[in-house]
Symmetry: C2
Subunit: 360 residues, 2 copies
DNA sequence: CGATGACATGACACCGATGACATAAAGCAT
DNA sequence: ATGCTTTATGTCATCGGTGTCATGTCATCG
């Protein structure tokens, strides 16, 4: 691999002049410049980041860590997939600033994190981003880390700058739209209590009811449990059954996420209830493999992963540049409602329909 | 950030001795060693990779590129997700060798690739891995790249070392098992012709029929088209209808992948055909979000992404170490069949059942 | 016309590690 | 005791760039 000295010799100039051509930090004569550029091309010269960094002390590298942290068990949840979009959003911003993103994946074991941190420090990263696979609280071992850190899709107890999805606002927007399309009895199958998103989405659900003047009723809310396989399928079915057997059953069921909605599709069919003719269903996440592929396509709320990544990267870069962090702390990013055909408007029913279910 | 000189001064030794403690490449006195280690800890010293690399010319960095290459349009396919498992497999191997993985995502635009390559070269990566989002042919701009390159989930025309899934063997194994469970009329809804996997899986299907002594019949094979949304849904339904309306319809339908299988579930139900009581269904990919979550859980073939990543990383590392590449070129990795309840055994039918459909 | 500044270029030290080599002390066989 | 190996440590140059400063060459202006 050729060096700046080789180029200098080939072009008949000093190394420093080559450096100037590379960085454009001082004027260079036209003839000299072309000679240098020719030499660089002929030798297929690529400057060494290592050498460059030694002098300038700027690595131009941003570190990113994904995967499970602070979770002992490797959950069966099909996790870690959508956060790829977050990474893409980050990458786009970082690359636009001519910096390099160095990504490390913990592969699900939080033991790996300190090691990864060390590696990043060895590379003298200018900033660190941690991406969680779903919205939750984490606790990072940030001892000895002296560069800015931004959390994405998670937050911690020490107010580290973070960017999270606005679950509450998303759910509120969805339920509001559902109400505006005529529904009055809105069932809600919640996520597991342990999940951060659960509480927020529940609040959003209530926000929407309140602002639209619909009384909240506990009987319309049931726990869907996690995402587990067969074992918890009965639990979900039981919750669903409870909603359907109400004297005034819901006309629409909002599910804690798209995966639950997909299971609800199956369970409703098993009970002979047609979606969406007899029961509307909505999800959350806009996990497109599900929402676009199931029939009917699912009305849901977009988790704005790409945008979150963008915002996080911008926030980090401004911190790296020494700017004060002026934003409110968890930056909340709301995603739009993705309205598809799994929710049927009930607009022909101007007031509450005591019958509960719409007939086609 | 403290340097090796700071540590040396604090410990009252020469920098070189500190270096020796770090690398363990020469004996160090016990007392000296502890003094140095104490100093390192107190100053929270982390060696600079850049400086280290300048001298030794070993970066310890492996570059990885993911995303679309040589594809102009950004397809609607929910792509780019499962390759995360490949990356995890790679990461595990790389980390075990105390090397660092530097990941760059093209974000779907192949224009970005040359830039990413340049960045990697600046970092003097010791090897490069390219991961495609699904099995296919690519053409990488490897001009000027003088380090080993390994392709994963793809291959090129110039016999670059690569690791791909063994679609043919996987499909063969699945269909063989299906036959062994009693089925004789096996429908096959193929992927789009443009996909590499299509031809291979089709061959595997025929391999299985042949080895089990079941005659191949064109009428049992139909095109499912891609993964598109509503527009192609009718096309899929038409293909499905053609199979169902055969004088001797299949007892099981093998789908080109899990997403198609999921759609087939819906279309079968719409036609009043119960899965798996009246029709068995199988997929391919073991895309777990689908295969585990739909009802009934889907029998499918695992795409061994993790293992592919592992193999690719090992192959690359041996190339980096200067070993000759002795493997047959596209290394094919077969995944196991994931047998779930969407395929019902027809073992009670000892010979071909002219009626075609099993009754519960 | 000489002073002034803008432009163009080079000389040289330095960033932080390590390889090559030197040196000193200790251990050991003869 | 002498010579030789082994162990423990230090000196110094070097990797490939860039910051600092110096120098040389013009065009411009009073």
């Amino acid at each position: 691999m050729s060096t700046i000295y080789d180029v200098a010799k080939a072009a008949g100039v000093s190394p420093k002049t080559v450096s100037r051509v590379l960085n454009g930090d001082a004027p260079v004569g036209k003839k000299t410049r072309t000679a240098v550029e020719k030499a660089m091309a002929e030798l297929s010269y690529v400057p060494s980041n290592a050498a460059r960094m030694m002098r300038s002390n700027k690595s131009g590298v941003i570190g990113l860590i994904t995967g499970a942290i602070s979770f002992a068990a490797d959950e069966a949840v099909p996790n870690g997939l959508p956060d790829l979009f977050i990474v893409q959003g980050i990458q786009k911003v970082i690359a636009a600033q001519n910096k390099t993103l160095m990504i490390a994946d913990t592969g699900g074991s939080s033991d790996a994190v300190p090691n990864l941190m060390r590696t990043f420090l060895q590379h003298r990263v200018e900033g660190l981003i941690y991406v969680a696979d779903y919205h939750r609280e984490v606790s990072l071992p940030v001892d000895g880390v002296d560069c800015p850190v931004v959390l994405v899709n998670c937050f911690d107890a020490t107010s580290t700058p973070s960017v999270v999805p606005d679950d509450r606002e998303g759910q509120r927007a969805l339920v509001t739209k559902i109400i505006q399309s005529g529904h009055r009895r809105i069932g809600f199958l919640t996520l597991d209590r342990a999940m951060t998103a659960e509480g927020l989405r529940y609040k959003g659900y209530r926000d929407a009811l309140e602002s639209q003047g619909i009384p909240y009723s506990d009987e319309l809310v049931a726990m869907a449990y996690g995402l587990g396989g067969e074992e918890t399928s009965e639990a979900l079915d039981a919750s669903l059954g409870r909603l359907l057997d109400l004297p005034e059953p819901p006309t629409v069921i909002c599910c804690g996420n798209d995966a639950i909605a997909m299971r609800v599709y199956g369970l409703l069919r098993a009970r002979g209830v047609k979606v969406p003719e007899q029961m509307s269903v909505a999800g959350f996440d806009d996990y497109r493999v599900i929402s676009e592929m199931i029939h009917p396509p699912l009305t849901t709320v977009v988790l704005p992963y790409h945008e979150m990544g963008r915002r996080a990267a911008e926030r980090l870069l401004s911190l790296v540049d020494g700017a004060d962090d002026v934003q409110e702390n968890p930056v909340r990013v709301a995603g739009p409602v993705s309205w598809r055909s799994s929710v049927t408007p009930l607009n022909d029913v101007s007031i509450f329909n005591p019958n509960g279910r719409k007939r086609p």
